[in-house]
Subunit: 601 residues, 2 copies
């Protein structure tokens, strides 16, 4: 397959190859039963296919989808036709089920490869990709917890690209605080439920793509436990489906309104009403819902899905940062402006932007962020593969523990620093970057969503410090420290010895400060600066990812590998040092925010 | 005058009063001849007037001006009518000349008061304010360097609000690099010039407001010196004006196009053609231009204007950060969500956002940024007043030196950290903050321009390190160090002793690292990380401003003053520590960016 040249501004294929094959040795996975049908060639084919569809069907309408966002006309959503063409192309290519079982129509690709493949769509047009992204998350949850009948009825058509899915968690009064949802599901005599309530921020919540929309809805069954322990999960389709799979009656899920956002404009973001009485399926009130798994177990199910979605959000943030970086680099190589400090002769030709030290700094900052974040995303994909397929159960457990503790970082670090990369991509473009004639301002606006959805930055901090560092007696943290230490050991004494020393010092601080925080009985004090903890630990983790990439360059000496080694050094010199002031503050158990009297704001 | 209550979300009047009167003792200026007609009452009246016009005429169409940006229709610019109403209200109120001489129709207000007064417009609607902002900058340059006749012809109508002004510096091929402009001005027999060339990024460059547009245009007179030394300044009006002040023939300045930006959408940003032959004033080719001052002296004139404009940009960034903070605070006080870590009973009521430690951190971070930046802007205004009116010439010189070295910081620090404050304002609002239903996403988009225009962040770094720290044998730096040291001395031994110690340590590092850098003969190496130098010095300067504000609270103990002291502590604990890693890197004369082979990107 000939990938169109425009794909070179989405992601660097050379970097993907380096990370997937040279560093993470994804090819070795084909020895495992699940991936036995695969080879490097099939992996490459999928990467080529996704790069091609992304470049040809997604990227060309990214701007248009932003300037002509979905409209609510006569009770329906109107999208530009390019969205359907793109989403259908993904469905027809069989990509929705890239990582799913062959038994449901999937390709059984490793998650690491899927993450890399999907990143092309995220870079090209993250809004349009949202329709598929939500379907994949929805399908994976049903595959994990749904009945075989639910899988047949709802998942197969999603894998075929005929149905689309959503995740309906938030409500107008309950965003971060899921325990406060009030949507209720009342049992019917036939074993189904009737769902009543309002859901907010539902991406891809309504549209006319495909044949049906499969909503996964969090709701409480009356009489159940209070708070999060009383939450159950339901399939609530837009249209009921007959036993033969034929589309039937309209269910009582209706579009109450669209949210108009700063970015991510091309994917509908909706307020949905369930059981408002607009429709009365079967002649009764309420939206028909089907319980997924056991009642009151949703917290467990949802965490499974959320971990996956959070790593996916991080990958999306990374992809936006990555394409912004490539565009800034492209601009910096061709645009000339000014002269170097030692060559101010106005008669001399202007130099390319890339020759200015400050522009190089901004490009290296972006490179360090996006290639580092990509590494973390692919590493997490690799861990998912280990968790699912490692032959040694201890290895599976180890992968699961690492995933738990890395997930909040894999979500939040790229959401913060690849957004910062987009900020720098604008800066490299100068005034042009601030205009809608260029792409980078949209990437910046799109990327700003990522620190908010799927658990805000603050929620990730509480998850990491409050839950992940202590779960199972601190097993996940221990595993992370052991893993990073092993990298330090491999690097010690070699050309990256200085980086190994710096990483070990940062890791020691991480361990020390975590122990100090976790010894605090007052939970409010312990977690007061959890966001800063998240950021500091994130920088240590990224330094480790960079040292890993550095070590993976040992096989050859070429421009890519020299660039990797220098970018690693850049990260250690320019970025990692910002962790220590955070650790120092955390260690003091600072009470400034707790003791502050809000009357003084 | 009763200021409308909606003005409370623009700026805090209590903070303005504290900073202007309790800290900066602006009232004492009325003893000086220039301000002898004024009193605290007249200052307050102007603040009330500007707050009222900003709240009633500017804020209400801020969103509309963003969503319905200027259009280019039949060769003309079409604006929403609310813009004209707002701009005319400012003109009619006599505010354009707030700081100018009474002899030209101005109010002769101190700059510190003007900065505070204008900040209301910047907070309310920075785009619409752009039309007046540019007129003020233009008029001030002509007042400083134009002939009496030019002042009468062009400045008086601007002060009356009948004409508007622009600054035409950049060209499509010369943004940051002014030495590369190619617009030329050919002398005519009658002593005027004919101007030919294209100007880019000209804010307020065309519109149908008022009667005329006065362009101040940088151009080169053929045969003059190369580079920046050959630049001269010209008045090029949209319409020629007769000796009686009557609007005459159309000059050959034409609108070639509008730039469509991410933010700041409501002010036209134009590409202008001069002397393209669309019009032939007087039957000849070229746009008629009038030389301002001496030929080839523009660099000097422009720096005068640029310093003022740069402080103004910083004040605008501050105002956007400030209004975003007040809106986030308002939201955080009313919106409930979740419970505290020690109170997870789902039956308990949800708490207000402001009760969460992480939300308080985000609010304190905003407060520290915006009240600190406001302090720096007002301090610079106060220095302008000292420079203009201090009776002791040594005091005037001291103020001028401080202004020189503080200007790049007053421009860049708010552009970076009040933008970061807007980012946090979005985060406090959660998903709602990302929608266009709320104001903060627009402030964030608008504020993103500020690190780019009037000299990018990188340019400010080179200005500070490359020029300002060494000018006049380092006099400005010496003056800054002396001034900060005096504050440290005043604080030592008191309740802020710990802050004094920390500030002294940071100041010592600043001095030490500056000496190291300025001893480097290789200019490219010396300036390689000038942007990081700018950021580190900026943090030290802001710490000083916060210690100043802390000391100014000594007179009373109330919620505002307790809040000030805690915000000062917050800045020292959470923000100032980020300077040291920057200094450490700078001290090492790091060559990573210089030695990096661009093939490795």
């Amino acid at each position: 397959m000939t990938v169109p040249t425009s794909a070179r501004l989405l992601l660097s294929r050379a970097d993907l190859d380096f990370q997937l094959y040279d560093w993470l040795d994804v090819e070795s996975l084909v020895k495992r039963e699940r991936f036995a049908e695969h080879s490097r060639e099939t992996f490459d084919d999928v990467l080529d296919l996704c790069a091609t569809i992304a470049a040809e069907r997604f990227a060309p309408h990214n701007k248009l989808n932003d300037s002509r966002e979905p409209e609510f006309v006569d009770g329906r959503v109107r999208l530009i036709p390019e969205v359907r063409a793109a989403v259908d192309a993904v469905g027809e290519a069989g990509i929705v089920g890239a990582g799913m079982d062959a038994s449901v129509g999937g390709l059984q690709l490793p998650q690491a490869v899927q993450t890399a493949a999907f990143a092309h769509f995220q870079a090209a047009n993250i809004a349009t990709w949202g329709y598929t992204f939500l379907s994949v998350a929805n399908a994976n949850l049903l595959l994990a917890h749904g009945s075989p009948e639910q899988v047949d009825t709802w998942v197969r058509p999603m894998v075929e690209g005929r149905y689309h899915g959503t995740m309906c968690l938030s409500e107008p009064q309950a965003g971060s605080s899921l325990s406060d949802i009030t949507t209720r599901a009342e049992p019917s005599a036939d074993g189904t439920y009737r769902v009543f309530g309002n859901k907010m921020w539902i991406s891809a919540g309504d549209h006319e793509l495909g044949e049906n929309i499969v909503h996964l809805v969090l709701a409480k069954i009356p009489g159940g436990p209070k708070g999060v322990k009383g939450i159950s999960q339901f399939v609530v389709p837009k249209y009921l489906v007959g036993p033969d799979g034929a589309i039937g009656e309209r269910n009582d899920v209706t579009l109450a309104g669209l949210n108009h956002k700063m970015g991510f404009r091309g994917v509908t973001n909706t307020l949905l009403n369930f059981g408002e009485g607009v429709h009365t399926p079967g002649g009764e009130a309420g939206a028909v819902g089907y319980l997924v798994g056991e009642p009151h177990r949703d917290l467990t199910y949802m965490f499974h899905m959320m971990n996956e979605a959070r790593v996916g959000v991080g990958a999306g943030a990374t992809a936006l940062g990555y394409t912004g970086y490539l565009k800034a680099l492209d601009y910096a190589r061709t645009r000339t402006q000014g002269r170097l400090p030692d060559g101010k002769d106005p008669a001399a030709a202007q130099v390319a932007l890339v020759d200015h030290a400050d522009v190089r700094r901004m490009l290296l900052e972006q490179k360090a962020a996006v290639e580092g974040a990509l590494g973390l995303a692919l590493y997490c994909g690799r861990l998912l593969d280990e968790e699912a397929t490692a032959t040694d159960p201890a290895e599976r457990e180890r992968a699961a523990a690492l995933l738990e503790i890395l997930t909040p970082i894999a979500k939040s670090w790229p959401s913060q620093w690849c957004l910062a990369a987009n900020d720098l991509a604008i800066q490299v473009h100068g005034g042009y970057g601030y205009t809608r004639e260029y792409d980078v301002e949209q990437h910046y606006r799109d990327n700003r969503l990522n620190p908010i959805h799927e658990g805000t930055h603050g929620i990730q901090g509480i998850d990491l410090l409050g839950r992940k560092t202590t779960m199972n007696g601190g097993a996940a943290l221990t595993e992370l420290v052991r893993t990073i230490s092993a990298t330090v050991e491999r690097a010690a004494g070699g050309s990256a010895d200085d980086l190994a020393v710096a990483l070990q010092a940062a890791l020691d601080r991480l361990v020390e400060v975590t122990a100090t925080l976790n010894a605090v009985p007052d939970q409010t004090l312990r977690l007061a600066n959890a966001s800063l903890y998240l950021e500091a630990v994130g920088d240590v983790v990224l330094a480790w990812i960079w040292l890993e990439q550095y070590l993976a360059t040992a096989d050859r000496d070429d421009a890519l590998r020299r660039g990797k080694r220098e970018a690693a050094r850049f990260f250690f010199r320019y970025d990692l040092p910002r962790a220590e002031p955070r650790f120092a503050l955390l260690e003091q158990l600072d009470r400034t925010t707790l003791d502050f009297d809000p009357a003084g704001f």
